[in-house]
C-alpha cells in the first residue's frame, strides 16, 4: 500500500499541497476555475499543519486498525482488504462526524456540501498523488508500506 510521508525538515509551509489537492478534487480540475469560478470551492483533503517554524502536511494515513472504520455508524468507511486503503462511500455517509471524533490526525474534513466527510483518496487515478507531485521541496513522498 502507498502511504504519503511528510518530512517536516524540508517542508517550507508553502501550502501548494493544499492548492493542488483542491484542484484535483474540483469539478474542472483547472487551477484558475477551481479557485475563481467554482463556488463553493473544493475541499483540500490534505492539511498543512503549521506552528512556526514547524510545518508539515498530513492526510489520511490509511491506518491498519483504522478507528474511523470501527466507529463509522453507517458503513461508509471501509478498509479494503486487498489494497489496505480506507475508502469512504459518499452515498452511505450520513455526516454524523463519528469518524472525525476518533481520527487522531484530523484527516477527515467536512465536505463542501456540509453533509458528508471528505478524505484523501491517494489520487488513485494519477500516477502520483497531486500533493506529492506538486511539492516543490520534496517534503512529501510516497512510500510503499505493508497494508
Amino acid at each position: 500500500m502507498k502511504r504519503i510521508i511528510a518530512n517536516e525538515q524540508v517542508c517550507m509551509g508553502c501550502g501548494l499541497c493544499e492548492v493542488y489537492c483542491t484542484v484535483q478534487h474540483s469539478k474542472s480540475k483547472d487551477i484558475v476555475k477551481a479557485y475563481n469560478k467554482e463556488k463553493p470551492r473544493a475541499i483540500s483533503r490534505v492539511r498543512l499543519e503549521v506552528s512556526k517554524p514547524i510545518s508539515f502536511a498530513i492526510q489520511c494515513r490509511n491506518c491498519e486498525d483504522a478507528p474511523c472504520v470501527t466507529a463509522c455508524l453507517s458503513g461508509a468507511m471501509k478498509k479494503d482488504p486487498e489494497t489496505g486503503l480506507v475508502t469512504h462511500d459518499k452515498d452511505k455517509c450520513i455526516g454524523c462526524w463519528t469518524c472525525v471524533m476518533v481520527c487522531p490526525y484530523g484527516a477527515l474534513k467536512t465536505d463542501i456540501s456540509g453533509k458528508v466527510v471528505a478524505k484523501c483518496d491517494l489520487c488513485m487515478e494519477l500516477e502520483e498523488p497531486a500533493c506529492v507531485a506538486n511539492c516543490p521541496n520534496r517534503a512529501l513522498t510516497v512510500k510503499q508500506v505493508k497494508k
Binding site: Q9, M101, C103
Partner: protein, 425 residues
C-alpha cells in the same frame, strides 16, 4: 458443532464476526438473531424516521454479509436459555445450538418508565427497525408528538419530527437537556437552538399519565406532566435510553451487575463465554471502572476484542468512555468524557465561548491530562484531542493552544509528532 456462537447480530455481533474471520477463516460461526433483516445501523433510525434514509441506505454491511463471512445465520430466532455445563444455547423452538465459544451480544431494550396509559395506541419506542417502521407510518397522520427524554436519542428523534413538520414537546426529567453530554452552558445553547426550531421543551418534569382521546380511550390524546400540566398530543415517543438485555444470563453462573460483567478481554466469569456491546459492562478509561456504555462504536470495538480473543488472539480492550458526536439542528457537537466536573476535585478547565458564532469549547484537565472534551460548532480537531486523552498525554507544554484556532499537529512536541504521524519524519 459450531465453534463460535454469537447471540445478537447488531454492532457487537458484526464486530465479532469480522474479527474472528480475520484470524480464523474456517472455524464455523453461528449467529442467532431475533431480527430477520440484514444488518442495519441503529443510530440511523432517526434518519429513517425523518425520511432522509431508506432501509437500503441504513444497511451498514453488504447484503450478503453472512455468506461473505461464511456464517450460519439463525435469523428470526430467539435464544431462550443457556446451558453452561452442556455448552448449548436453547432456541424458542426447542433446537439446541452447541458452542465452543459463546458471545452474548444481545444489546439493550428501550427503557420505559412506569406511566399510567403507556399501553395506549400511539406510544412508541425507538431502537429497532420494526419500531421505526410503525412509527413512520403513524407519523403520516400525526400532528403533535411528545418525546420523553432529551438526551442523545430524544434530540435525534425530535429533529426527525421537526423535519417532518410536526409539533414537538420534549419532556426531560433532568433540569437540563443533553445533561450526560453537555454542561449547563452547552445545554442552554442547544436548548435555545432547538426552541428556535419550534420545539417546546419541558425540563425538570416527567410524564405522569398518558390519557386517551375523548372519542377513543385506547388512542393517545394527551399526557399529564408531573406539574399537572396537560399536553395534547396524538403520539408519544419514549426515548430515554436502553437497558441491557441480560435475560439469558439471569439465573446462570454468569456474573451480573446492571449488565454482564466482563474483564478487559470481554470474557465473563464463565470460561468460553464472552459479552460485548450494550449488554456488557466494559471498561471506561475516564472513570477507571467498568460500566454500561451503550454506544454503537464502542459496541463494534468490544465485539472485535471478544471475537479476537475467541479466535485465540489475545487482545486487550483499551477501554472506551462516554463519547458522542451529534449533528442535530445544524450544530455539530462532540462530547467525550467528563463534561461537568465537580469543582472541588482538582480539575482544571479551559473554556472558549463565542456565542455569536454558537461556538463553545471546553477542555477538562486533571494533572495536565485531558479527561473531558466538549466541542460545539467546531469539531475538526476532536480526534486529535481524543487521541491525547485516550493516551493520557501530558499537555502542559501546549495547553494554551488546544482550544485556539492555531491548534494543529505541529503544536505537539517532536517526539509525539513522530510517534503519532505514522511514518512522518
Amino acid at each position: 458443532m459450531p465453534k463460535y456462537v454469537i447471540v445478537g447480530a447488531s454492532a457487537a455481533g458484526i464486530g465479532a464476526v469480522e474479527a474472528i474471520r480475520n484470524i480464523d477463516k474456517d472455524g464455523t460461526i453461528a449467529v442467532i438473531s431475533e431480527e430477520e433483516c440484514p444488518q442495519y445501523s441503529r443510530p440511523m433510525i432517526s434518519d429513517f424516521v425523518s425520511g432522509k434514509a431508506t432501509f437500503q441506505r441504513m444497511m451498514c454491511r453488504e447484503n450478503d454479509f453472512w455468506k461473505q463471512h461464511n456464517v450460519e445465520a439463525f435469523l428470526g430466532r430467539t435464544a431462550k436459555s443457556l446451558n453452561l455445563t452442556e455448552k448449548t444455547v436453547l432456541l424458542e423452538n426447542g433446537d439446541k445450538v452447541p458452542y465452543e465459544k459463546l458471545l452474548l451480544a444481545t444489546g439493550g431494550k428501550p427503557f420505559v418508565p412506569k406511566m399510567e396509559g403507556s399501553d395506549k395506541e400511539g406510544v412508541f419506542t425507538f431502537t429497532k427497525i420494526a419500531d421505526a417502521e410503525r412509527l413512520a407510518e403513524k407519523l403520516e397522520t400525526a400532528q403533535s408528538v411528545v418525546v420523553i427524554g432529551a438526551g442523545l436519542i430524544g434530540v435525534s428523534v425530535t429533529e426527525a419530527l421537526v423535519k417532518r413538520g410536526l409539533n414537538v414537546t420534549m419532556v426531560e426529567l433532568q433540569p437540563k437537556i443533553l445533561s450526560l453530554l453537555l454542561d449547563a452552558k452547552g445545554s442552554d445553547m442547544m436548548e435555545s437552538i432547538i426552541r428556535k426550531a419550534g420545539v417546546t421543551i419541558a425540563t425538570g418534569l416527567s410524564v405522569q399519565r398518558i390519557l386517551g382521546k375523548p372519542e377513543n380511550e385506547r388512542a393517545v390524546g394527551s399526557v399529564v406532566l408531573t406539574n399537572g400540566e396537560q399536553v395534547p398530543c396524538d403520539t408519544v415517543i419514549v426515548a430515554i435510553g436502553v437497558i441491557p438485555r441480560t435475560e439469558l444470563a439471569v439465573g446462570t453462573e454468569i456474573k451480573l451487575n446492571r449488565g454482564i460483567v466482563v474483564d478487559n478481554y470481554m470474557q465473563t466469569n464463565v470460561s468460553d463465554v464472552y459479552a460485548s456491546g450494550d449488554v456488557a459492562e466494559a471498561f471506561d478509561f475516564t472513570l477507571n471502572q467498568n460500566r454500561l456504555l451503550p454506544l454503537w462504536p464502542l459496541a463494534v470495538e468490544e465485539g472485535q476484542v471478544a471475537g479476537s480473543n475467541m479466535a485465540g488472539k489475545k487482545t486487550e480492550y483499551a477501554g472506551g468512555t462516554n463519547m458522542s458526536s451529534l449533528k442535530y439542528f445544524g450544530i455539530p457537537i462532540v462530547s467525550i468524557g467528563i463534561a461537568n466536573p465537580r469543582e472541588e476535585t482538582g480539575f482544571e478547565i479551559l473554556i472558549r465561548f463565542e456565542p455569536e458564532k454558537n461556538l463553545y469549547k471546553k477542555i477538562v484537565l486533571k494533572d495536565n491530562v485531558i479527561v473531558g472534551i466538549t466541542l460545539v460548532n467546531d469539531i475538526e480537531r476532536a480526534g486529535t484531542l481524543f487521541h491525547l486523552m485516550k493516551n493520557r498525554v501530558n499537555v502542559k507544554k501546549f495547553k494554551r493552544d488546544i482550544i485556539s484556532d492555531n491548534f494543529t499537529l505541529a503544536v505537539l512536541p517532536a517526539s509525539l509528532r513522530k510517534n503519532m504521524c505514522l511514518g512522518c519524519a
